[in-house]
């Protein structure tokens, strides 16, 4: 079926506007759930106590703390107010409206959240982006190789290898890698970070471990997808036409497997920015990995809110990109 270029473009732009409009209810929903989850577990009093420390705290300072940060209002509905104020004089309204202008404001401990995020985003990206690219390169290559040798002993032993690599805990990769390369061979620093070009020597090890750790899972996943494509009719036709196996794999199988690959990769978009908790903790990378979980543990709701919001924005962006990518990969799909 043929789509004229103009029609295609038009549908893309109308699709995009539609999706961006859809983003609003999603973000409000996300924010609502975050509020419910957070406040079911922690009352504003709890939050105040955590922030004020635990020795010699009085009720007075707690109520002070709450009113300063606007946590003394009702959560969703202000029953004692009139008219519109029933909804606007609440914590939920107060905090949600500001998020949509990307004004994250200050954390409950008094830091500018946008500044902190922009500072900590880059170290995370410096690790996650190379890990993604190199990981994709290696897993796809290995998976193609295994797909080529499908049904042989190479295939089955590779599967066993993949499964055993999957079963090894990520912690072990990190600790083992640090032990081997930093302690025994003393080739790279075990942990730390620096600005600019000097950061490379700190990044080698986490990137290497990230790639190796994801190899088992990735290879196995892509192998299945490739095998799936190989069994399709068009591949047999292509092969019957005398196309070399390499040609089949590269031109047909890889191309057609792109949809699941793209879906998988785009789903990683938020985690690229938000970093990895364990890796960053072990390598002393000042990234965003621990930002959310630290905030949850120290009950800094302003940060939790901002990070969840940012995560969902990225996620929605990823979804839109996926759908756009679908049409590029497979023009039969209409938006």
């Amino acid at each position: 079926m043929f789509i004229s270029p103009e029609k295609g473009l038009g549908s893309v732009s109308s699709y995009l506007t539609r999706r961006i409009l859809y983003a609003f209810p999603i973000l409000i929903g996300v924010n609502f759930i975050t509020f419910v989850l957070f406040f079911v577990v922690n009352s504003p009093d709890d939050m105040a106590r955590v922030h004020l420390g635990n020795r010699y705290v009085t009720e007075d300072s707690i109520s002070n703390w709450k009113s300063e940060r606007g946590y003394d209002k009702p959560l969703f509905i202000a029953l004692d107010s009139a008219g519109k104020k029933v909804f606007t004089e609440t914590i939920f309204f107060d905090k949600t409206v500001r998020l949509f202008t990307f004004d994250f404001g200050q954390s409950d401990s008094g830091r500018d959240i946008s500044y902190d995020i922009s500072e900590r985003m880059w170290p995370s990206l410096l690790i996650s982006l190379p890990v993604l690219c190199l990981g994709l390169l290696f897993t796809l290559s290995f998976a193609l190789l295994i797909a080529f040798f499908r049904g042989t002993y190479i295939d089955s032993s590779a599967v066993i290898l993949c499964v055993s690599m999957m079963s090894i805990s990520g912690l072990f990769y990190i600790i083992g890698g640090q032990y081997l390369l930093s302690k025994l061979l003393q080739i790279v620093p075990i942990s730390g970070f620096d600005d600019g070009i000097a950061s490379i020597k700190f990044l080698i090890l986490p990137i290497l471990i990230g790639v190796v750790g994801g190899l088992g899972h990735g290879t196995r996943w892509y192998r299945t997808i490739f095998l799936e494509e190989i069994h399709r009719d068009y591949v047999r036709t292509a092969r019957a036409k005398g196309l070399s196996e390499k040609g089949v794999l590269y031109q047909h199988v890889l191309r057609n497997a792109l949809i699941p690959i793209v879906t998988g990769v785009v789903a990683l978009l938020p985690s690229l920015f938000l970093g990895s908790l364990i890796t960053e903790a072990f390598f002393g990378i000042p990234g965003l990995g621990s930002y959310t979980i630290d905030a949850i543990q120290s009950q800094d709701f302003a940060i939790v809110r901002a990070m969840v919001f940012l995560g969902s924005v990225l996620y929605i962006l990823g979804l839109i990109l996926t759908d756009v990518a679908y049409t590029l990969v497979d023009p039969r799909i209409r938006l």
Partner: protein, 466 residues
């Protein structure tokens, strides 16, 4: 004994019952039975199934819980302990009860850590004390090796005996013919290319040999060492089977219906259905799973504090927390599969045969069940298997931030996470991590191999080729 049925036990037994019902149902229907027979035709799959069956057996044994009687009580009426133990605990009692003070290496008879104690001369010395329950029957410490060999030989003897009896029973029941058995094993070639039945038999025999070794050596040595507070690591590994199996199956059970129904509906019907479903899963998956799980764990905590009376025992509390974890993991996990299924359905819908069947006015429901669903089976199978191992591993990651399985519950995740500090020791304490890896690896590998065959058997295109 006073039987206790925990919530996860009940769910697990329901799961098994439905599995049995499905097997019974499938055996009556030819179109379902045929692919399953194809699955079992593969020796690897047969062998994997045998291993899975063993894991399942252990999990079942570990899911029958009861209050044991208190011994040595002076009162006349029977008194039950408030502790909950499982049948597996009773079976493994000789291994479980042998706790030491702290770490010891596999087969060691000395503790791993030095301890200060007073010597006869009244001086305080710090050295490696003898273990209380490993090789304590030996007076001469150099006899360990010979003792181990003797016990292993004993185990071998028991095994040969048991296998022989089993063969005799099978032959006398005419399940197996002696003549064909002999002729099958005559040439070496068949050993490397066994039939499915033979593969299963070999696997069965190997597992039995291991069990017999554990039964004879286990009570006298710590086969896989002990952990920080001196509990047997092998015991923990075996106990972890139930946790691992349940977290994989229960979570999948919870998420599958959501993922399939919603994913297919979104991809097939498009329009507002698609929008609504996308809204649902986008919203849910945008929220960091950590927040969701942490919140659920804390809510549960509050719930249990308010209803403290209902959760008297450690096990009941741990069990509810475990169930809650499965639920939450299920809620967070279905979105991923749902997205894949939606994407695949989108693609399938554009394919010629569905276009055709729609053109012929076939009802959506039957199009879906006849053309869409079978073509999605492989994605579902693969996700289940990958998620299964992923879930077992995710549990360890959650434990890292204290929101995983209850600390009082034995799980591989807890073991792996504890190993974080053990790996920094000199010499390294590797056995906890190794045990967790071993048990998990076997389970994940068996599940993978089995699922591969299932996929091959159910994939319509491949089936046509055969």
């Amino acid at each position: 004994m006073e039987l206790v049925i925990l919530k996860t036990d009940a769910l697990f037994f329901i799961l098994i019952a439905s599995l049995l019902a499905y097997i019974f149902y499938a055996s009556k229907k030819e179109h379902l039975a045929r692919p399953w027979r194809t699955v079992l035709k593969k020796p690897m799959a047969a062998s994997a199934l045998t291993i899975l069956a063993f894991y399942l057996m252990v999990a079942i044994l570990d899911s029958i819980h009861f209050h044991p009687e208190i011994e040595g009580s002076s009162s006349d009426t029977l008194v039950y302990s408030s502790q909950v133990v499982s049948l597996l605990d009773e079976v493994l009692k000789p291994i479980n009860k042998n706790t030491e003070t702290t770490y010891s290496a596999p087969f060691a008879i000395y503790s791993y850590a030095k301890e200060s104690r007073e010597s006869e001369t009244g001086q305080i010395i710090r050295d490696y004390p003898r273990l209380m329950h490993a090789g304590s029957h030996l007076s001469d410490t150099s006899e360990v090796r010979s003792d181990l060999i003797m016990r292993s030989l004993g185990a071998l003897g028991y095994w040969v005996f048991a296998m022989a009896i089993l063969c005799l029973i099978l032959i006398s029941l005419r399940v197996v013919k002696l003549k064909s058995m002999v002729s099958d094993w005559q040439n070496l070639g068949t050993f490397f290319r066994p039939s499915p039945a033979q593969a299963a038999a070999i696997t069965f025999a190997v597992v039995c040999l291991l069990i017999s070794l554990i039964a004879t050596v286990g009570p006298y040595y710590h086969i896989l060492g002990t952990d920080k507070v001196g509990n047997d690591v092998l015991f923990q590994g075996v106990k972890g089977i139930r946790t691992g199996l349940l977290i994989g199956t229960l979570t999948t059970l919870i998420m599958l219906p959501f993922a399939i129904v919603l994913g297919v509906a979104a991809g097939y019907f498009r329009g507002w259905v698609d929008d609504a479903i996308q809204y649902l899963y986008t919203t849910l998956s945008s929220i960091p799973g950590v927040l969701l799980i942490a919140a659920a764990a804390l809510m549960l905590e509050v719930f249990m504090t308010n209803n403290a009376g209902d959760f008297e025992s450690v096990t009941a509390r741990a069990d509810l927390r475990f169930l809650c974890l499965c639920l939450i993991l299920g809620v967070t996990a279905w979105t991923g599969l749902c997205r894949y299924l939606r994407a695949e359905t989108l693609k399938l819908k554009e394919s010629n045969y569905i276009e055709a069947s729609r053109a012929f006015g076939v009802l959506s429901w039957s199009t879906i069940s006849q053309h869409v669903l079978p073509n999605l089976m492989h994605i579902v199978m693969i996700s289940i298997v990958l998620d299964f191992s992923g879930l077992v591993l995710a549990e360890a990651a959650l434990t890292y931030i204290d929101i995983g399985v209850d600390p009082s519950m034995e799980s591989w995740g807890n073991m792996i996470n504890g190993a974080r500090l053990e790996l920094a020791r000199e010499p390294v304490v590797w056995w906890s991590l190794f045990t967790a890896f071993l048990f998990m690896f076997i389970l994940v590998l068996a599940a993978n191999v089995f699922a591969d065959s299932v996929r091959d058997a159910f994939d319509p295109r491949i089936r046509e080729l055969d």
